[in-house]
Amino acid sequence: MQQVLNGLTLGSIYGLVALGLTLVYGILHVPNFAHGALYMVGAYVSYVIMVDFGANYWLAMLGAAGAVALLAVLCERLVFNPLRHAPPIHDKIAAIGIMLFLEALVQMHWGAEFRRMPTPYTGIVEFAGLTMPAQRILIIVGAFSLMAVLHLFLKKTMTGSTIVAMAQNREGAFLVGIDANRVAMMTFAISGVLAAVGATLFAPINLVYPAMGHLLIMKAFVIIILGGMGSIPGAIVGGLIIGFAEAFGGFYISTDYKDIIAFALLVVILSIKPTGLFTKGVR
């Protein structure tokens, strides 16, 4: 039962990060390798706002979301937009370039050491014989409410619908007069917000360091391959699958190889079914 909770915690964070990745992929068909770096920058911004400025946890989350959204939009404008007609290999390399740059920059400024992010929610909740750290509950509740808000935004608002329209059919979206630039910028901003919030939620039970995004981004990629690239429910379900697989695998098999489970799962699934689990149609 404890493992279910752990799986749910991991899964909701993975889901949040994968969601940002899948949104960007759905719109621009760019696998944004820099997404993990955005996540890491989000954690550092929250850390700085909380520790150096002594601000409140929620204020820090808000600040990080704003800063990373801005950074993501900047990446879109400066890098991905000029490359939109280039061969696909180019934007992958450019995304790697952004990732390397952000990581090196953070490492130069803050050093490579691990930092612990403070959180106001250190208590432990006892419920039905289960002990649950408050931060974990916050993560689960926070992540799922953010997903719900995103879902409402995409389904119920006009701006949200333009994003969905772009993802479904580019030419069709152009025909009905959707401004591709605006949608692209907005998508990057949303993915930045998701990454920053995910980082601020997760960092207190993890640690903050320059390479913190590496493993996460790779798992997020595994998730969106499993869930079908560009699919929003796929990202959430995939996130939970990987989260549970890791929680149970780490408990029953070996904590040493915990991180390998996601990748092994990917290899096995893609060897059997190269199109991913939930994809419809080609690829």
Partner: protein, 354 residues
């Protein structure tokens, strides 16, 4: 024909190859100190791996992000066989190449069923699995401690490869062989098939090219290059650890490839040497080199996606085309058909592979 044109023509002549080889042979005599020779030898070893990456990524157009992993597989195969099992160096060296090819075949058969982004992401994961296995499988790889006291290549009593200068020549020989083989592949039917696949899967398939077989072959060739380079690296540095499999090395190699010119023959060598010496001369860059390399990658793919060598070749091709054009006009105005000696299309095409 102006001076610039003459210089650019000179770069394409066989004499240039000779000059480069002679320069490489003389380098240890003009180098200021042993350290410079060491750096150069190390750059040669990396260049071999980058040539491998050029086959799958440059020729065949599949971004392989597990390349650093296969480099480490070569290094570890050599180290485990020589240190733990007492194999002689050269037998272990051959085994390293074979293990790189075999594991590359296995990884390739699975990963090449995926296309483009899926392939890149999948290989990134493969690279990470290799890293994690090396780091955690302590019984086999000594885990985070790494493997020390790897023997240097045996010189059969004639040469001592623990010395820097003999090793430099050994690395040079392997690198020249690699470039020669890469050139043979690039200009063969096989290389043309690879290039057709890069342009479009559907196009290549409609020409009767077996996609899977060619892609797997390109992948196996590239992983063999990587593992041979890794084995040489282990014999040179003589200490290896899990950091060898770090994805950072793959990104380094992408930078080398992109700076030099992706898909060109001399690009990998040029990029590797240029960046290696740039980081060496700017020592403070060593740790934070990615602050420069990251934006460099972005700027290169946006403005110079063909790298230094590729940009040169494009520029030269345009000039030649212009010369050809004016020659045509002149001959047309003189109303006298002249054999056009300036350029033939065959020349231009050959230039594209240089």
């Amino acid at each position: 024909m102006n001076a610039l044109q003459k210089i650019s023509d000179f770069f394409m002549t066989p004499a240039m190859k000779l000059i480069m080889i002679v320069a490489a042979l003389l380098f240890p005599f003009v180098a200021g100190n042993e350290y410079q020779i060491y750096v150069m030898a190390l750059a040669f070893v990396w260049a071999i791996a980058v040539y491998g990456m050029n086959i799958i990524t440059g020729l065949c157009g599949q971004l392989n992000l597990a390349h650093g992993g296969f480099f480490a597989i070569g290094a570890y195969t050599l180290a485990i066989l020589t240190v733990d099992h007492g194999w002689p160096f050269w037998w272990a060296f051959v085994a390293a190449g074979v293990s790189g090819a075999l594991l590359g075949f296995l990884a390739g058969v699975v990963s090449l069923r995926l296309k483009e982004h899926y392939f890149a992401i999948f290989t990134l994961c493969v690279g990470f699995i290799i890293y994690l296995l090396i780091d955690k499988w302590e019984e086999l790889t000594h885990g985070a401690l790494g493997i020390i006291n790897i023997p240097a290549p045996s010189g059969f009593g004639l040469v001592d490869f623990t010395e820097t200068t003999p090793f430099y020549y050994l690395a040079l020989v392997f690198m020249v062989l690699s470039i020669w083989l890469a050139a043979r592949i690039a200009n063969s039917l096989l290389g043309r098939s690879f290039r057709a696949i890069r342009i479009s899967d559907e196009l290549a398939a409609s020409l009767g090219i077996n996609l899977m077989r060619n892609k797997v072959l390109a992948f196996v060739l590239s992983t063999t290059y990587a593992s041979v380079a890794g084995a040489l690296y282990a014999g040179m540095v003589r200490f290896i650890g899990p950091a060898e499999a770090d994805v950072v090395h793959t990104f380094d190699m992408i930078t080398f490839l992109l700076v030099g010119g992706i898909g060109t023959l001399m690009g990998p060598l040029f990029g590797t040497l240029a960046i290696t010496w740039l980081t060496q001369s700017l020592q403070f860059l060593e740790e934070y080199r990615m602050i420069v390399f990251g934006p460099l990658l972005v700027v290169l793919v946006i403005f110079f996606p063909r790298g230094v060598v590729g940009t040169f070749l494009t520029w030269r091709g345009r000039r030649l085309a212009a010369v050809q054009e004016t020659a045509k006009k002149e001959s047309a105005s003189e109303k006298k058909p002249q054999p056009n000696k300036a350029v033939t299309p065959r020349n231009q095409e050959a230039g594209n592979h240089a």
